[in-house]
């Protein structure tokens, strides 16, 4: 099921209301990708996406200031640049870059929509459209690193709530909230084409508690409270 916030600007994670339930504390697991271990999540089957599509995910890039690949497929990558911009290589030569910046060290909401050949980036609620970019098929299969395009520059940080749909059909709906005891990442879009965690262990997963009573909203590591992630735009 596509969660409700897909159709709204990014404010908080509304799915938490139902996931957390009632008035109790909202908690969930986050996986922190570590580039030194070359960690990523691979879909069982690479997606070939044609027509209009919708891609969205939450991302907290660590404060390293470097170029990193966040999501990719054969000849396709979605990256954060060293200047903190979003750059989407739909093909090696069709690669719009955002004017807006991602905020390193905070959780950003990234939405990418294609209508015909136009690409619209919506970063933390601010939309910008790049006209006549590319209308052909693209492929997606990996979260946290590249498949083949460019030089390997795996991601450092947190990626979660990854969703992909094309022509109105849900293809990926991954919370990435597993505890790491298994290598499987559930794809709730259709109950199949799950993900596999590569080069990860339970040491890469921690539970966090959400606090929307403060601005910005925060996610705090429940183990010792030492790590607090702020949600940009809240």
């Amino acid at each position: 099921m596509i969660t409700p916030f897909l159709k709204t600007p990014f404010i908080i994670d509304p799915w938490l209301t139902s996931e957390g339930g009632g008035d109790g504390a909202v908690t969930r697991n986050f996986t922190t990708f570590d580039s030194t271990l070359t960690q990523y999540i691979d879909l069982d089957t690479e997606l070939t996406i044609t027509g209009d599509f919708h891609i969205c995910f939450n991302v907290m890039p660590e404060d390293t200031g470097s170029f990193h690949q966040m999501i990719s497929g054969t000849d396709t990558t979605i990256n954060i640049t060293s200047a903190d911009k979003l750059i989407f290589f739909l093909t090696p030569s069709a690669n719009p870059s955002s004017t807006a910046s991602l905020i390193r060290g905070e959780i950003n909401r990234v939405v990418i929509d294609r209508t015909d050949s136009d690409i619209t980036f919506t970063i933390n609620g601010a939309a910008e459209t790049h006209a006549s970019v590319y209308s052909g098929a693209i492929k997606l299969s990996r979260i946290g690193s590249r498949v083949n395009l460019g030089t390997a520059s795996p991601f450092d940080g947190v990626i979660y709530n990854v969703e992909v749909s094309a022509e109105g059909v849900d293809l990926v709906d991954m919370l990435i909230n597993e505890d790491g005891s298994s290598n499987t990442v559930t794809n709730a879009a259709d109950g199949s084409n799950n993900g596999t965690r590569v080069n990860m262990s339970t040491a890469d997963v921690a539970e966090y508690e959400f606090d929307d009573s403060v601005s910005p909203n925060t996610w705090t590591n429940t183990a010792d409270g030492s790590d607090v992630m702020e949600v940009a735009g809240t």
């Binding site: 922190t32 570590d34 030194t36 271990l37 070359t38 960690q39 390293t64 200031g65 470097s66 170029f67 060293s82 030089t151 520059s153 450092d156 590569v198 080069n199 990860m200 262990s201 040491a203 890469d204």
Partner: protein, 167 residues
């Protein structure tokens, strides 16, 4: 700080590592000769061949080594051909710190346009580091030249470490 990952030489023949190799068949291998596994192998709890970074101390002060001092100590461990059977245990944070050190980048010889520093910058860093920590060796550190390749840099730093490892 608890070790959560392990640096293992590719020629390590210990069968206790088989489960780790099977679980992480695509483990990172930045320098070509060491795997960096995302977990510690079972069966090494009391084996001295598992060296935790957190246990590496300054022999004079007894304090835990960090930064350049730790990088130098690790380099000596890893460069010794007799140490292919040891395992370096480290936390995620320690692993990131090690991999971000200029000496490690030179050793890995893997520079590109997205690297956080150039070979020239890392080369200068090591020169300054030697001036501070090992002034007796500073004169032996060659000047960087535009013609120097990452592979040549790797060989130079390897020889520098091997030739200056205390018995």
């Amino acid at each position: 700080m608890t070790s959560t990952g392990a640096l293992v030489h590719i020629d390590n023949t210990d069968t206790r590592l088989d489960a780790l190799r099977a679980r992480y068949p695509q483990a990172a291998r930045h320098d070509g000769v060491h795997y960096y596994f995302a977990a510690i192998p079972d069966g090494y709890e009391s084996d001295p061949r598992l060296v935790h970074i957190g246990d590496i101390v300054d022999p004079e002060t007894g304090e835990q080594l960090t930064g350049d001092g730790l990088a130098w100590a690790l380099a000596q461990l890893l460069a010794d051909p007799a140490n292919t059977q040891i395992i370096i245990g480290m936390s995620r944070a320690q692993g990131k710190s090690l991999y971000a050190h200029p000496a490690w980048r030179i050793w890995c010889a893997n520079y590109n346009e997205d690297s956080p520093a150039t070979l020239a910058e890392d080369w200068a860093y090591i020169g300054n580091m030697l001036n501070t920590y090992r002034p007796d060796l500073a004169d032996q550190w060659p000047e960087y030249t535009e013609e120097m390749t990452p592979a040549q840099g790797r060989e130079i730093i390897y020889q520098a470490i091997v030739n200056n490892t205390e018995e």
